[in-house]
């Protein structure tokens, strides 16, 4: 951050030099920043790949599983019963080799790690090892895309509601802090120490088990209603509890944080000045409180958008919601490295992109900030 100061006497000279300076500064900044971010993504994803196969340990598990599965299928095949044991043994070995080749287990792990990395970085997500999409495809891209709408729906509705409602309520509270509602929010803010899935269990207990008004989990009834209106109502019914638990678990802390934040800014002298001038409180809020807090609010919003990608693993698991978080959890259980890596690389790219863009957005909304300035 730096404050731009220019004396009027050297205005014309400064203008031209500062123009070229701005261009070189911004472009140098862009290049350096992108390189650093890319390196970060590479290292981060490589580490994930390393952990995802535990330095080759997972290979052992998978080879064992393949051997067992192949032996079982061939032993269970009635046409193989009469075959010569030697022939059968050869068939088993051949099938195992083929299966290992299909999954790439015959290539050393160190080479495979780099192959995963380069494929991941070029977003060539490849094929899943064990999981399939509901439409039967093994393409990681399709598996992830198939689950994306469910997560976007759940996370989108709950997080956007949370974001806007807490800013709105926080502004209201900061206007008259110390009153009953304000103190209530302060008192209730520790409730956010409890994670959403935990509220989920209580909500299931109350609304599904005791009152029997809402379903225990899932996304739609089975079979799903054919009529689009009924379908969306059914979806809404299933959405209520998981969304509510996601909102509930961060609601009060979120309001509390924004409220404190707004209060700090509303005690600034220029706000007092604006009030003394007799500006309506709406204008004071919009121009003198929200404006300087905008970079922060935008950062939160950007992080919210990326969080839509990761989903809420445990909440989705508790509610059997077929979203990305639950898919990732299932993929780990099935040792499906391509899906784990695919999910991570997209998150890493999204995060890096957001961090990169935020610098420019700060410069846009806050005239004091210069891109790449020190």
């Amino acid at each position: 951050m730096a404050v731009v100061t220019q004396s009027p006497t050297e205005n014309t000279v400064a203008k031209r030099t500062s123009h070229t300076n701005t261009f070189t500064r911004v472009s140098r900044y862009v290049v350096v920043r992108l390189m650093v971010l890319f390196a970060t993504v590479v290292v981060g994803v490589y580490l994930t790949i390393m952990i995802a196969n535990m330095g080759g340990f997972v290979d052992q598990i998978m080879k064992g599983e393949i051997r067992e599965r192949v032996t079982q299928t061939i032993a269970a095949n009635p046409s193989m019963r009469q075959a010569d044991p030697a022939v059968r043994k050869k068939l088993i070995e051949d099938t195992i080799v083929k299966e290992e080749q299909r999954l790439g287990l015959d290539i050393p792990i160190a080479i495979r790690n780099f192959r995963y990395l380069s494929n991941a970085l070029t977003l060539n997500l490849g094929r899943a090892m064990n999981m399939t999409s509901d439409s039967g495809s093994k393409q990681v891209r399709l598996i992830l895309l198939e689950r994306l709408p469910a997560t976007l729906l759940l996370m989108g509705i709950s997080q956007l509601f949370l974001f806007f409602s807490s800013i709105f309520l926080a502004l209201n509270l900061s206007r008259r802090y110390g009153n009953f509602w304000d103190r209530l929010v302060v008192t209730l803010s520790p409730t956010s120490a409890v994670p959403p899935w935990f509220y989920g269990i209580f909500l299931i207990l109350i609304f599904a088990a005791l009152l029997k008004v809402l379903p225990f989990g899932g996304m739609v009834d089975s079979p799903p209603p054919s009529n689009p209106f009924d379908y969306s109502m059914n979806l809404l019914k299933h959405l209520t509890l998981p969304a509510l638990s996601l909102v509930l678990s961060s609601f009060f802390l979120s309001i509390y944080n924004y409220r404190t934040f707004f209060l700090i800014y509303s005690s600034e002298d220029y706000v007092e000045m604006a009030k003394a001038k007799g500006l309506p409180s709406r204008d004071v809020e919009r121009r003198y409180i929200l404006r300087p807090t905008l970079p922060n609010i935008i950062t939160n919003f950007a992080l919210l958008i990326i969080s839509l990608w990761t989903g809420a693993t445990i909440t989705e698991t508790v509610f059997i919601w077929p979203g990305l978080g639950r898919t990732l959890y299932q993929a780990i259980g099935l040792y499906d490295i391509p899906i784990i890596v695919g999910s991570t690389i997209i998150y890493a790219y999204l995060l890096a992109m957001t961090v990169f863009l935020l610098d420019f957005i700060y410069a846009l909304v806050d005239p004091r900030v210069k891109v790449g300035g020190r």
């Binding site: 650093v36 981060g44 120490a193 780990i332 998150y347």
Partner: protein, 445 residues
């Protein structure tokens, strides 16, 4: 230091802090009580024990205190035996080394429901001639029902509800309700029931022992789970595990974060750069996924998970926040004075920089405890809890995978959930109050 002491005295002005402290003390007390009452090895044996340890308990039995909440009374489970005197036993010696014994147990049955099952565990010692017993059932209305006559082997189990002969005799398929009701009307009879067992042994050293197990609908203080385990054990032992995990993780994370931030800021240069880069890389790594990966592939031991949690939680946004404050503190006069008299780098970092931050450290530390306590529970709910240790999260996971909410075993989920909730809220309330005490800037607003 004086201001630190004053700050702690201020705690008493915050009701939420008092509640928080109370909860924390209660937890510490429970943890100590659990460890003293049930030593570690015993707790593991009980928690990992199967049918041979828990055969006396019914499955899925709610705690006995639900009788206070419900208008209908449930039968409480119990087990009595002659070996420890809870069931009376009288032995009369006869001629030529023979003896007769009489064991009886009288109990008051005041429930509105029939018990689930009654079982006799019989054991005897003999060399050649098997002892012989017969069991009789005395009802409050004065009827006497002969249950069974048995020649005993060394160890024998007799289940009332499985006895075909008894079924024909009572002309019913359900023995237990028949034993507890009026044969004419079929109504349940409350009152004093007596189980009378008479035995005859035919050798001088021959001995008979009886254990009578009564499976009602409710059991003990906390109820039982699908493996007949008494939930008191994991509920008690959950406290030390949760406390240890939460406190070690939050202490390790906050202290290491602060030290690393201080070292980075003080020495600057490549050290600082390295720390910043690691932080950025760590932000890219999916935290929960990596913990799940470690849990699935490597080890589900709580200590491995704890170590991984701390490692992944050090290099987060907090390190940047501390860094920005340290950069300011670094320029202050007293640090310059220390430099001037030639204090070493480590002296400045550990004695001058870090102590300045303690007011920030303490609230942060306390507030982050619930997150770690719940992290352990979350991993357990995903099926990645420690395979050996009894924890609250494990109970919830067991309950969830056995469909406790669908099948109406609410106590099974509510008990650990409420304990987790109290723990989390206690630390969070204390943390919030400490934050407002130590950072008075927030107190005004």
């Amino acid at each position: 230091m004086k201001s630190l002491k004053n700050s702690f005295q201020n705690i008493l002005y915050y009701p939420s802090a008092i509640v928080g402290i109370f909860v924390v003390f209660l937890l510490v007390f429970t943890a100590i009580y659990a460890m003293v009452k049930i030593p570690y090895n015993e707790a593991i044996r009980l928690w990992r024990g199967g049918e041979e340890v828990w055969y006396q308990n019914p499955k899925f039995a709610p705690p006995a205190w639900i009788n206070f909440l419900s208008s209908k009374k449930y039968a409480e489970s119990f087990a009595v035996r002659t070996s420890d005197g809870t069931m009376t036993k009288e032995v009369t010696l006869g001629a030529e080394g023979t003896s007769t014994m009489e064991a009886s147990y009288t109990f008051d049955f005041a429930s509105d429901y029939y018990p689930q099952e009654m079982i006799l565990y019989l054991s005897s010692t003999y060399t050649e001639k098997q002892p012989f017993i017969s069991a009789e059932w005395l009802t409050p209305d004065g009827r006497k029902i002969r249950i069974v006559n048995l020649a005993l082997s060394q160890k024998q189990t007799y289940r009332f509800s499985q006895d075909q002969k008894l079924k024909t005799k009572l002309r019913t398929d359900d023995v237990i309700p028949a034993l507890f009701s009026d044969p004419e009307t079929g109504n349940l009879i409350r009152g004093k029931y007596q189980l009378l067992i008479t035995g005859a042994a035919f050798e001088p050293d021959s001995d008979i022992n009886v254990e009578f197990v009564f499976h009602g609908q409710v059991y003990g203080l906390a109820g039982t789970d699908h493996a007949r385990r008494d939930l008191v054990v994991p509920l008690l032992w959950g406290a030390p595990v949760a406390l240890a995990f939460g406190l070690i993780a939050s202490l390790g994370t906050s202290v290491l974060t602060m030290v690393i931030a201080a070292v980075g800021t003080w020495y600057g240069g490549w050290v600082d750069e390295l720390i910043q880069r690691i932080t950025e890389i760590n932000l890219v790594l999916p935290f929960l996924s990596i913990l799940i990966l470690i849990g699935t592939f490597y080890s589900r031991s709580i200590w491995v998970i704890l170590g991984a949690t701390i490692l992944l939680s050090i290099f987060t946004g907090a390190i940047k926040a501390y860094r920005s404050i340290f950069v300011q503190v670094k320029e202050s006069m007293y640090i310059e004075a220390a430099r001037a008299y030639g204090a070493s780098g480590s002296r400045i970092v550990f004695l001058y920089l870090i102590p300045r931050m303690i007011p920030l450290l303490i609230p942060g530390l306390v507030s982050s405890v619930p997150a770690f306590v719940f992290l352990e529970a979350s991993l357990a709910v995903l099926g990645l809890g420690d395979p050996v240790l009894p924890t609250w999260g494990k109970i919830i996971e067991n309950a969830n995978s056995n469909g406790a909410l669908y099948r109406g075993y609410y106590y099974w989920i509510l008990e650990p959930a409420i304990l987790l909730m109290i723990t989390g809220l206690g630390f969070a309330m204390l943390g919030f109050a400490l934050d407002r005490i130590f950072n008075p800037k927030l107190r005004d607003v």
